[in-house]
């Protein structure tokens, strides 16, 4: 197991480095460069030269990359002139908010999707299964921006019982103190996730219900509820664990569309703004974080297999 983890960590470092190289090169291939994007059409050539010099953009790309990488090692992700703040502090301010959004929506989705998936498997090809399947497909096929707007129209405009935007504050405490503002964005994300998770759960439970160990459990006199809860549930959670592991990067990249619809000041909104203004330091910083999170998420998913399924061992 230790050897497996060590190998995976080493692979991860290489993967993250490759990601940074590719992103760095791609960003610098964009026409116009960051100076015009950030200084605007009024900027004179002298102002652009001055900006490029101050930011180091007039140096060769490999040197820029090396400088950026050495700073990265010390935790310095650069400085965003658009936000007049260091990238680390920007991410530090916004990450907890996105974390709250993603954790709440994921937990809510799990609480709903796991029982739903099990119910569908147990009631396979019955009315309940068909009904839930239809709704799952509807939500699965609905783009988040559309779902978000529909929820806003229904709950904030027509009724109106909930705010149309998320709480606005740099303080996580203030945001949590206004739970009403979190309901719609959490619901938007959760409904999409429920649709996805419940489908996986349904398939997994159906598959497990046909396994020999289930028959054995029944033969030993276990009740159906006990079979489901104590035997099938645990084994059926493996694909969900994979999905959860792979959704870890989303915590760092944020729910870009949902955050934009609900004006939620999280990582996704930050990345969106940075992309629009070609704010290289922010885009690179978030990309690296997402790269690291992807690798770690994938690793955690592998480890979760071992925990959930004792047959799985990484020698």
């Amino acid at each position: 197991m230790t050897g497996f983890i060590t190998r995976r960590l080493l692979q991860s470092v290489v993967v993250v480095l490759l990601v940074t190289v590719i992103v760095f090169i791609l960003l610098h291939l964009l026409p116009g460069g960051p100076a015009r994007a950030q200084l605007g059409p009024r900027a004179t050539s002298a102002a652009i030269e001055n900006f490029n010099h101050q930011m180091g953009y007039d140096r060769p790309v490999p040197i820029q990359y090396w400088h950026w990488l050495t700073q990265l090692v010390t935790g310095n992700l650069g400085f965003s002139v658009k936000f007049n703040q260091s990238v680390a502090s920007l991410i530090g301010e916004r990450l907890p908010k996105t974390l709250v959004l993603m954790v709440l929506s994921t937990l809510f989705a799990l609480v709903v999707a796991i029982p739903l998936g099990m119910l569908q498997a147990v009631k396979r090809n019955h009315a309940a299964d068909y009904t839930i399947t239809v709704w799952a497909f509807v939500f699965y096929a609905t783009p988040p921006f559309f779902l978000g707007v529909v929820l806003i129209v229904v709950f904030a405009v027509d009724l109106p019982i909930l705010p149309a935007e998320a709480p606005q504050s740099s303080s996580l405490g203030v945001i949590l103190s206004q739970p009403g503002g979190l309901i719609l964005p959490v619901l938007t994300l959760a409904l999409l996730t429920i649709a996805q998770f419940s489908r996986y759960m349904r398939s997994s439970v159906i598959e497990n219900l046909a396994e020999d160990y289930v028959r054995t459990a029944r033969a030993k006199g276990a009740g159906e509820r006990s079979v489901l809860i104590h035997h099938v549930l645990r084994n059926s959670l493996i694909p969900i664990a994979t999905l959860l592991g792979l959704s870890l990067p989303a915590i760092f990249s944020g729910a870009l569309i949902t955050e934009a619809v609900f004006n939620f000041p999280g990582i996704g909104q930050l990345f969106w703004t940075a992309a629009q203004t070609q704010d290289y330091p922010i885009m690179l910083g978030i990309t690296v974080l997402v790269g690291v999170a992807t690798v770690i998420g994938s690793l955690l998913a592998d480890l979760a297999y071992a925990v959930l399924d004792p047959r799985v061992r990484y020698a």
Partner: protein
Amino acid sequence: MSPGVISGWGARSGFFRARRLIWAILLTIVALIGTSCAGQTTPSSGRPVEGGVATFAEPANTTPNYIFPFMSIVYFSVSTVSDLQYLMFRPLYWFGDNGQPVLNDRLSLADYPTFADDNRTVTVKLRDYAWSDNTKVTADGIVFWINMMKAEKKNWAVYVPGGIPDDIDSLTADSPNQVTFHLNKSYSAKWFVYNELAQITPLPHAWDRTASGASDCEHRVGDCTAVYDYLTDQAKSINSYATNPLWQVVDGPWRLKSFNADGNISFIPNKSYSGPNKPHLAQFNEAPFSENAAEYNVLRSGDNSIQVGHLPPEDAPVKPDDQEVGHNPLENNYTLDRWYSFAVNYFPLNNHNPRVGPIFQQQYFRQALASLVDQKSIIKAAVHGYGATTNGPIPTTPKNPYASDKTEPNPFTYDPDRAQKLLANHGWSTPRDGVGTCERPGTGPNQCGPGVNAGARLDFQMMYATGTTQVTLAMQQLQSSATKVGIKVDLRGAPFNTVIGTAIPCDAGKPDCNWEMGNWGGGWVFAPDFYPTGEQIFGTGAGSNVGSFSDPKLDQLIAVTQHSDSPEALQAYTRYGSETLPVIWGPNYDYAETEIANNLKGVTPQSPYLNITPEDWYYVK
């Protein structure tokens, strides 16, 4: 029964009980929170009351991010200057008066200057304004700013070589409230006040310091770099804006209560404000939005969290020709008001492009191209009628003393027949739906013109900024009209930043000079160059002359506007500019369609220089 299907699973199961529990929790939360969110209709008239809190929605994706008024172009933006700095640190002269693009004498810190010695000597007399630390706004504060400009030219956002402070030979503080400028030449008084003195924001004595203590930039230019570095360093600590004692020294009507980098800002009245318009509100807030649509959702929810917001262009009601605005979709809570900017809109042609530059340099060609732009139709189709035509280098809307659509009508309104004749009369074939070619090369009056070879093709690439309906529609209209007269416009959409990064002044033959036409969707807002003389955009070699246009006569006419106060100077310039077309004019869209809470007054008329004055706002009850 199929394997695995459990027959005993029914309505009384734990799953169903859990589902009921989840619904119960959800409904309880919704009910608890919902009680405070019910929409209400706001009253629109009543007696004025003091106090209250008003929140202004910042334009989408733009937030103020820099507090020190002496800033590099990196931080220079409407939101930073108008929505943050000007509320606390007043410029020497305020521009925008009752919706007109003119000097506002009432809100200026000084009397209109007196000019002597053939306009080479300018004397500015300050009025009785005070800083919140109980010191006066003095002549030293002006000298402090000018000295900073001299020491840190390259870090002043709108520095233009030859402009202020280069045009000041010397400067003396005659008394605590009077300063005299000695200029290197005679300048137009209006130009000097509107475009040069307008850049000055007097600084407080408390800011004349470094980390190690007091300094003397007010009297010694040599001290200014250290002071600049110190203040800049402080200004980069964005989360300390509301707590740093430096930034609490203000002479404007407001001071910061709270500030965060996301754009959530709260101001409270500066009790020491000595200006004429003291705040009525107890607090003024600004709120950020990442998208226009997100802001619109909040406005139409009717939760009254925003008192001054903006309608997305696509949601603006169609404007009948005989009315100022269409039927407001938010009329229960808001009043719709058009926010004009004092701006011209255009797209440049790259006169230095080796292939097509010689064609663009022909005046008849630019006139033909301008005749293919149907500005009025674009305004109707793309922005529901909320815009004005651009007729020449000086805006005609809003009404102003410099030009008007009556005195300066557009000589090249939409007329494809005129375009066809102009081209045909100068030796071009004009096949409908084809590509015209030069059939009579030469420099004669009925030939294609200097530099244009036989067989040259009217085939151009137009890079335009995608993402806004108005630019896309305008470009499609141009392309469609152009095909009628043998001009092929190859539209190439690109992100805004790519367009402004590609369409730049360039030298012929250089790799970056291959672009042909570029349209980023915006032209030029005359601020802080409030007097619309155009030297920065149309003068030969000017930094923002994107298409590298050059016309000695236009340069001369611009120079006259800078040195003469005669109204004819501006008129001659705009007439010539309208005829010669240094760029191709396009529709000037409204800056915003503002929604103002029905019970909030004093917001209109809105400044064409895009400043806001929440100190004038008040509620009625």
